[in-house]
């Protein structure tokens, strides 16, 4: 007897990605560059986040042709993004055979109140979070993997750093609480009580938590690992740089050996220009993707 879509199978898939880099790609050619560089998975998109930002308008699930083209080009797992709350986009991606679905604030939300019931799917989901409450609400809905939201498409790491530090600090706090404090903490965080009990017992989140939203250099990737991320998503940072092959390889190596500073120095030499990036204070509040859901 075989059981599909169990928590162990869905969360386990993300466990296998640990210490690795997941790269945004928009076609088969980029997917091959990513695989060749040592990416553990690719995210198939119509546009990378910085181009979504520039284009404006409504950003939706990618054309299935792109997802299929990428799936046919590489042997590593292929992820794809669905709009927050868009059950049908997610079902379409599941039907296509995508290996993981990102219910993502990078796309324009389809539902401004509810996220999807991800437990209802066989395919696993990754969701963004800025703090522990948001992380545990997503796990409660069935997310099998988390990532920081950061601020996608900016090439600015500051928001991702804020989010991973917040989650790590809150995890420590919960781990050190006495049991009689947990229910009130659950209320304050807006998080399921059972998940706080789980954290207290195991001293960690029940699913892996990657960094995302603003990683642009090998040092950025290593910084996020240093701060406790299990791995790294790079969106615009690779294919918006001067030399995607070199950036991709260097970010993979810096993530695997994030405390080998001699190596990271070597990897960072002569890389060429990283993506241009956006300073947060110049970003209009209406353009902040991280605030699109909670």
């Amino acid at each position: 007897m075989a059981d599909r879509g169990t928590n162990r199978v869905k969360r386990g898939m993300a466990e296998m990605q640990k210490g690795g880099v997941i790269m945004d790609v928009v076609n088969a050619e980029q997917a091959k560059v990513a695989e060749e560089a040592g990416a553990v998975a690719v995210m198939a998109l119509e546009r990378v986040p910085s181009d979504i930002r520039a284009a404006g308008g409504v950003a939706r699930m990618a054309d299935p042709t792109i997802v299929e083209e990428v799936m046919n080009a590489v042997s590593i797992p292929v992820m794809a993004k669905a709009r927050i709350g868009h059950i049908v986009e997610a079902r379409v991606l599941e039907a296509l055979g995508a290996d993981y679905i990102d219910e993502s604030e990078v796309l324009t939300p389809a539902d401004d109140v509810y996220h999807m019931d991800k437990n209802a799917f066989t395919v696993p989901f990754v969701c963004g979070c800025r703090d522990l409450g948001e992380a545990l609400r997503r796990i409660g809905e069935g997310a099998s993997m988390l990532r920081t939201k950061g601020e996608p498409g900016t090439g600015n790491i500051v928001e991702a750093v804020r989010h991973i530090r917040m989650v790590q600090a809150q995890l420590k706090k919960v781990t050190n609480m006495s049991k009689d404090e947990l229910m009130t903490e659950a209320k304050n965080l807006g998080a399921p009580y059972e998940l706080l009990l789980d954290i207290q017992e195991n001293g960690k989140l029940p699913v892996v938590n990657f960094a995302a939203g603003g990683v642009a250099t090998p040092s950025d990737a290593a910084l996020m690992m240093e701060l406790g991320a299990d791995g790294v998503f790079v969106g615009s940072g690779i294919f918006k740089s001067d030399n995607p092959q070199k950036f991709a390889r260097s970010i993979v190596e810096a993530t695997a050996h994030y405390q080998d500073y001699d190596l990271i120095a070597k990897l960072s030499k002569g890389l060429g220009t990283a993506m241009k990036g956006i300073e947060m204070s110049t970003l209009d509040p209406s353009q902040r993707m991280q605030d699109r859901s909670e």
């Binding site: 199978v9 296998m16 210490g19």
Partner: protein, 197 residues
């Protein structure tokens, strides 16, 4: 006391460490560079992405030291991607990665993630009821004369042993049942005792 390393380039490293630590008289370390191999009695290749691990193995001149480790008769246990690294041949590819075990493997043999599953298996010498989690798993299409088949799932080979080399296509590290790791720890102890004679 034996010292077992877990190759820590990428993948589910922590889970193997936890399972191995449950075996008696085992000290477990993370292996990030080739020099660390010298002090080890046994080694685990974890699950992860085999293409990523291969790139990092090549980049840091890990390939020959790993092959020498196996040639010295020191036990190695590969799970999922680890099994792919160990195979002599990979279906559809020109050659295997480390080419340690005489077997032909097929990557992603059960399909994409939505086809991933868990089940209970009988594994020879380990358990009749081992929980086995298969994630985008490979399978062993065929094995050489010296390879013993330890487990099959619906007629396909999913675990095998060739002397001091052990491999399976599923993830014993993702369950709380550490009997497969105990079995490997015992192999390491026996190999160390034999080498000392």
């Amino acid at each position: 006391m034996v010292k077992i390393g877990v190759l820590a380039l990428q993948g589910a490293v922590r889970e193997h460490v936890k399972s191995l630590e449950e075996a008696p008289d085992c000290e477990v370390t993370l292996v990030k560079c080739a020099e660390q191999l010298e002090e080890l009695d046994g080694l685990v290749f974890p699950g992860g992405e085999s293409t990523t691990m291969r790139r990092l193995i090549d980049k840091y001149d890990f390939r020959e030291p790993l092959r020498s480790f196996a040639e010295a008769g020191k036990p190695i246990f590969g799970t999922c991607a680890g099994l792919i690294l160990m195979a002599k041949n990979i279906a559809g590819e020109a050659e295997g990665h480390l080419q340690l075990m005489d077997m032909m493997v097929e990557r992603n043999a059960f399909g994409r993630q939505r086809e991933s599953f868990e089940t209970t298996l009988s594994v020879k010498g380990v358990a009749d009821d081992l929980e086995a989690v298969f994630i985008r798993a490979p399978l062993i299409q065929s094995v050489g004369d010296q390879v013993e088949i330890l487990a099959e799932y619906e007629g396909e080979i999913v675990a095998a042993r060739e002397g001091h080399l052990l491999a399976c296509s599923f993830h014993p590290e993702l369950t709380t049942d550490s009997r497969f790791h105990h079995y490997f720890a015992q192999m390491v102890k026996e190999a160390k005792t034999t080498a000392a004679l």
